[in-house]
């Protein structure tokens, strides 16, 4: 009885899905969008933080921070990072205080209670460049510049994506269909999923003067800011790698010991038959 019911229920589902299969097969077409054809995967980017032995190249991350501060901070917030976190990049207490004081953060007038701004302290977080989303859109061709704190983890292959995007601006190819050409206020960039990006190329050759004297080519600045964003997204990366190796070694040791102990315990059961 139960088997008859089972076969009936089984026939119901299998015929239902076969029906979908049949109608789908008649209209079978693998979709090819224009984006799919012109979009490029990220270029390869090698950073010191890559791989199981990865560590931050503090020099590079500091350069990247300089790029963020002087170029990107005009439009992109970094709201999950506090000034005190910068100490991990090798800045001493005085330097952190000075960096913080260089930013204006929201405050309250202690006498009148009016909202104003005040110089930052190490406990403050990086301030938002725009008061709210409406202001952000108004200043940026109706696009909101995304927060960059987690950008390296919020995109597939995030660091390489950032690097490719910043170095990827180019003229739209001749064979790009009319409908996909960049319109008013948009810029063609094949590393962006939708091909046309509201952000204008933000970096120019020699735009900033690195404090360590490195040549500030667009390629160099893009790599450096990508390295910085890996740190903002994953400040515990080094600690994680450092902790991981002793843990793995201990577990390997314990597992081998356990295996040998098991063999010893089972020895009499494997040889004698009683």
């Amino acid at each position: 009885m139960i088997r008859i019911l089972s076969i009936l229920v089984g026939l119901f589902f299998t015929v239902a899905v076969a029906w979908s299969l049949l109608l789908g097969a008649i209209n079978f077409e693998i979709p090819h969008t224009v984006e799919h054809e012109f979009h490029k995967p990220p270029k390869e980017l090698r950073l010191a933080s890559d791989g199981a032995f990865g560590k931050f190249d503090r020099q590079q991350v500091q350069r990247g921070f300089q790029v963020y501060k002087e170029v990107c901070a005009a439009c992109h917030s970094l709201r999950l990072v506090a000034f005190r976190d910068l100490a991990a990049l090798g800045y001493n207490e005085a330097e952190v205080k000075a960096i913080a004081a260089g930013f204006q953060v929201p405050g309250l007038d202690p006498n009148t209670g009016e909202a104003n701004t005040r110089p930052g302290t190490p406990t403050d977080y990086f301030p938002k460049p725009f008061a709210n989303d409406i202001a952000a859109r108004a200043a940026n061709n109706n696009a909101i510049p995304p927060d960059l704190s987690l950008m390296a983890k919020a995109r597939h292959d995030g660091a390489a994506y950032v690097y490719s995007l910043l170095t990827g601006y180019q003229d739209a190819p001749a064979n790009l269909p009319e409908a996909n050409r960049p319109g008013e206020g948009l810029h063609y960039n094949p590393y962006f999923a939708n091909l046309n990006l509201a952000m204008a190329p933000p970096l120019n050759e020699g735009q900033i003067t690195y404090s360590d004297g490195t040549k500030s080519s667009v390629d160099q600045m893009s790599k450096d800011v990508a390295a910085f964003l890996v740190w903002t997204a994953e400040p515990k990366l080094e600690k994680r790698h450092q902790t991981g190796w002793p843990v793995l070694l201990f577990l390997l040791f314990a597992t081998v010991l356990g295996f040998l102990a098991t063999q010893q315990i089972w020895a009499d059961k494997k040889k004698k038959k009683k």
Binding site: S6, V9, A16, W19, I30
Partner: protein, 426 residues
């Protein structure tokens, strides 16, 4: 199971005797996982995954409770509270990554544990209750994992919740009101997030309770074994302690090694980058997918693209998705073969492996966009999946000619070992 040759608990220390007369917990432990529980001696490594699952459950509960001390279940600050855990809470990053990767590890272990059951007939009499409780545990795990993934309130958290709770709307008549009652609103929002947190904290303890029943139901008849032949005499078994404490112990070490490698060196490998973007009800992600352990069922859900009879496609997909797990409840009564283990069932074995291929296809397609060629692949795999459990297994179990079984476990073990005495065991 009261095997007559089982070791008896005999406390020698006066304090243990005192305890035994008042609250016999040590006796319980001795009889459950100690020297007092005889286990078939021929268990292979596929039998280690139950114990491993218990380790996973423990890890999830411990890391989860610590995370709950720092997490805030309010839509405005949930995402930031998780980032606070990752950046500012001492070892918070480790708790979070262990909890997230531990959930994936839990599902790997449980799928292997379930497929072991399919192969060796663990669901057959007299272990039907073990099986039924096991399917209940699996359903509770899926609910817990689903709600847990919503808690960080990222893009995938929100949109995954939207898709899955939206399925309730497919139920005729009561669907829409039911969906709104469950969500506490028209769409996932603060009400849903708060109640998901409450239930996510609760359900693991419900799982613990069902696991206790699951193990009790197993220990009543005793464990199955790779031959499927029941235990007949003392030479068929070994006491759980020390033989399987040791064997389970070292494989737990290997399991933790893999979990640690993932957690410390590739913690976001199994996750989706979109969940590092705060939830935005105004911006739909390009592709909404759940975590990988739900992919086979997501593939089944999306395989039904056409209306059939008077069922519309969305409802068909929902019925099939839930049905695909509910049919497991009936397995002990669908599979009528008196032979338990697929080792001795050549025809059933072939279909088992086809099922494994179909599951692999469903896993793969579930993570892909709902476009060709993945839709056709899902449909073919779904077709086989339902045919397997509902049509093939009942028929095969009736008509199949199994291979001859060994007389006993001892005989099977003897046959395998070289240098063994040729005379049968006592």
């Amino acid at each position: 199971m009261s095997f007559p040759w089982a070791n008896e608990y005999k406390p020698s220390h006066p304090f243990m005797q005192w305890m035994d007369e008042r609250l016999p917990v040590p006796r319980l432990v001795y009889n459950a996982v100690g020297a007092g529980y005889p286990v078939p001696r021929n268990l292979n490594y596929w039998w280690n995954f139950g114990f491993m699952a218990l380790i996973c459950l423990t890890i999830q509960i411990v890391t989860g409770i610590v995370l709950a001390m720092h997490y805030a279940a309010n839509a405005g600050i949930a995402f930031d509270s998780v980032e606070h855990i990752m950046r500012d809470v001492n070892w918070g990053w480790l708790m979070r990554y262990v909890h997230a990767n531990g959930a994936s590890a839990f599902f790997v272990v449980i799928y292997i544990h379930i497929f072991r059951g399919f192969y060796y007939g663990s669901y057959k009499a007299p272990r039907e209750m073990v099986w039924l409780l096991g399917v209940v545990i699996f359903l509770l795990m899926m609910a817990t994992a689903f709600m847990g993934y919503v808690l960080p309130w990222g893009q995938m958290s929100f949109w995954g919740a939207k898709v899955i709770t939206g399925l309730f709307g497919a139920i005729p008549l009561v669907g829409e009101p039911l969906q709104q009652w469950l969500l506490g609103g028209f769409a996932p929002g603060n009400a849903a997030l708060n109640r998901f947190f409450s239930l996510h904290y609760l359900l693991p303890f419900v799982i613990v309770g069902v696991v206790v029943l699951h193990i009790w139901a197993l220990h009543t008849p005793g464990s199955n074994n790779p031959t499927g032949v029941p235990v007949k005499s003392e030479s068929d078994t070994v006491p759980f302690y020390p033989y399987f404490i040791a064997k389970d112990g070292w494989t737990v070490g290997a399991f933790l090694f893999v979990l640690a490698a993932l957690t410390f060196f590739a913690p976001n490998l199994l996750g989706h980058p979109d969940n590092y973007i705060p939830a935005n009800p105004m911006a739909t992600p390009a592709h909404i997918v759940p975590e990988w352990y739900f992919w086979p069922f997501y593939a089944i859900l999306r395989a039904f693209t056409q209306n059939f009879l008077f069922f519309d496609a969305k409802l068909l997909g929902v019925l099939a998705m839930f049905g695909s797990i509910l049919i497991w409840f009936f397995l002990p009564w669908l599979d009528k073969s008196p032979v338990r283990s697929a080792t001795y069932r050549p025809l059933y074995r072939k279909f088992f492996w086809v099922l494994m291929v179909a599951m692999a296809v469903l896993f793969y397609c579930g993570g892909k966009p709902a476009e060709e060629p993945y839709v056709v692949m899902s449909q073919l795999a779904t077709l086989y999946y339902f045919a397997h459990f509902l049509i093939i297994v009942p028929i095969v179990s009736s008509i199949e000619r199994p291979d001859p079984l060994p007389y006993s476990i001892t005989e099977a073990v003897l046959d395998e070992d070289e240098g063994a005495a040729l005379s049968p065991a006592q």
